[in-house]
């Protein structure tokens, strides 16, 4: 019995050591990001250096970000929030609608629609970039109008991502719908007054995922806003800092900007983590 206990204790200690190592590896880049964002731009070089902890802490880089005469960071930030909020709202509404129709109603062409969308989803998204760019240009939604353009494109094609939400609806017993229909409720009424109030976790999950995606949207955003600095989002703007300007000392500014982007998104995510876990776990099992 004793040997079992010691064995177990040793096992736990090894476990803790591994976990601590993992934690260090996982946290290191973020700690580095924060530390380097405080490196003084004036007294130390703002580019790449071979030490982690700055010799002198300063807020130079943050001041630079907030200085609208030198760069558009605040504008990019605002753009990203606008895109994220609108995409989040509309994408949630559309995916709820699609999921309800596909989960609850049986109509001609339902299976065809689902198969068709599944196949469409296998085409790489970037394939359509040129064509989408041109379509948006027709409506004046590129360069200066890139923000509504991006929202439009994202929202227009989000109906295909209904899987997780439909999976959730499938778990709500159909007997509830039938009972309500016997009481004379219409489909629309069932949807608005019964299903939606019951779907809080999946609504939060959908909205959260939709809100977080635009923060990383580099590819299409950079294509649509090409060369028009004021309609960049943070990803496009700051990626350019790293790729093309880092020799001018933009690296620490990137770190500072990254910290400011990461803080609200991370907090929001942590706060709603429970729903996220439910969503991905459910989605993964349903496939």
């Amino acid at each position: 019995m004793k040997s079992y206990k010691t064995k177990r204790a040793i096992g736990n200690i090894i476990g803790y050591i591994i976990l601590i190592l993992i934690s260090i590896i996982w946290l290191f880049p973020f700690v580095g990001l924060v530390l380097q964002s405080f490196r003084s731009y004036a007294t130390e070089y703002g580019g790449m250096v071979d030490y982690l902890v700055p010799k002198q802490f300063s807020l130079d880089n943050y001041k630079f970000l907030f200085d609208t005469s030198q760069n558009n960071y605040l504008l990019w930030y605002k753009n990203t929030i606008v895109i994220a909020v609108f995409v989040s709202i509309f994408q949630t509404i559309i995916q709820l609608c699609v999921s309800y129709a596909l989960s609850r109603m049986r109509f001609a062409g339902r299976t065809f629609l689902m198969r068709f969308w599944l196949i469409l989803g296998m085409f790489p998204g970037f394939l359509t970039m040129i064509c989408l760019y041109f379509l948006l240009k027709q409506f004046g939604l590129t360069q200066a109008g890139a923000i509504p353009g991006l929202i439009l494109v994202t929202v227009a094609s989000c109906g295909m991502g209904y899987y997780v939400c439909k999976g959730y609806f499938d778990t709500i017993p159909k007997a509830l719908d039938e009972a309500a229909m016997i009481d004379g409720a219409t489909r629309a009424r069932i949807f608005f007054t019964m299903i939606i109030p019951m779907s809080k976790p999946i609504i939060i999950y959908t909205a959260l995922v939709a809100f977080m995606a635009p923060w990383c949207d580099y590819v299409f955003a950079s294509y649509v806003a090409f060369g028009h600095d004021t309609s960049y989002n943070v990803a496009v703007g700051m990626t350019r800092w790293v790729w093309t300007n880092d020799y001018q000392g933009y690296f620490t500014r990137f770190c500072a900007g990254g910290v400011l982007v990461a803080i609200p998104v991370t907090l929001l995510f942590m706060f709603l983590q429970k729903y996220y876990v439910e969503g991905v776990t459910g989605g993964a099992v349903k496939g």
Partner: protein, 465 residues
Amino acid sequence: MAKGANNKKKNAASLFFEAIGNGFKEIGVTFAEGDIKTKLSFLIFGLGPILRGQILIGVALLLCEVLFFYFMAGFGWQYLSKFSTLGTVATKKVGRKTVYGDNSFLILLFGVLCIFAIIAFIAIWYINVKENRKEELLLKAGKKLPSNKDVFMSLFDKNFHKTLLALPVTGIFVFTVLPIVFMILVAFTNYDKNHQSPSNLFTWVGLDNFKNLVSFSGAGIGPTFLQVLLWTLVWALFATFTNYFLGLAVAMLINKKGIKFKKLWRTILVLTIAVPQFVSLLYVMKMFANDGLINGYLIKWGIIKSYIPFWTDPMLARITIIVVNIWIGIPYMMLIATGLLMNIPEDLYESARIDGANPWQMFRSITLPYMLFVTGPFLLTQFTGNLNNFNVIYLLTQGKPQSVNLAEKAGNTDLLITWLYKMTVNDTNYRMAAVIGIMVFVVTAVISLVVYNMLPSVKDEEGFQ
């Protein structure tokens, strides 16, 4: 198995033709048995319903017809008529003025739109015929037609799916289907940087681009394509399975009895999901750079003499990408595995322990089979997702290091998808980009189909319940 699938296909095909046959039969019967209202409706959409008092349906049908002809006459025809050549009148410079000729891009795009419009027109015509038939049969049976109000209200009840799906389906059509069909057709043209509209025309070239893709001599890009494809598959395989097993291991470690602060460990790991990837990946990219932190410290501590070329050596770059991807991917898998591990009945382990099984045996014969069974579809979507994992590759290396042996500016770590992106944005080589795009689709579709049918959870749905 294969025979069964064949039979099924035949059945589906014969069903399809039967349905078409029935459709034609119904059209004939409708015309033969129909009254004058119905017969006129064959030409003027919705006339029958309007005359029978079904104003709403009738007007909607009529509106579709008017819109179609208005669209074709005023807009569509000028493009559709040139569709077979994609334009013949080149843009010329007359003196200082540029006289624009045909725009091949517009002709192709709107030509496709017109073809879709014609298909929709035929479909609406068929709906129109069926509507007439339905009304006539109802009247013949002595029943009353639904009132206009009923028809409208059914959009919120019996036909609620039409209301719900109208907007999403339209959106997907305009911003996904139309562009995809357009790009598939571009693969059969010579649309590249020497044939940019509107200043130059481009035209159909048949299968030339596909021949170029598989040609291994001269200027053909066959060898490059093979290498990129191979790396794409290797990458997806490694990325999926390293994440899967390591994530599972971490989840089991945190789940282990006796480990405290479970929530803390999970929260630390989940940070990589929460922080936007462009921040974390770009920072990690800089960390591993030749003048980055890791090389800096290793040199300072005297472990190495000169920097390790994490991103500039082809083989090392590939390994580094896979390692960094583990950093990104483990937390995600950990979250999923944590939820699923709790679903495994504890008494299974209990009885295994009584039988004297060690932890490794329990993992091999209880945990792993269960996880593989439940997460089969998830693994498949992860794999196809990794085939197209643009962010990780592009933010870390942009497909570099470049290689002189590769055509079309492909780099050593380029996936098909980043290669496609570079062709589109940097080289405006649209025709080859379209071909690569189709190849990506083919690879994804074939793998999905083959693997999906082999999954145990698909073959035997009840297996573990």
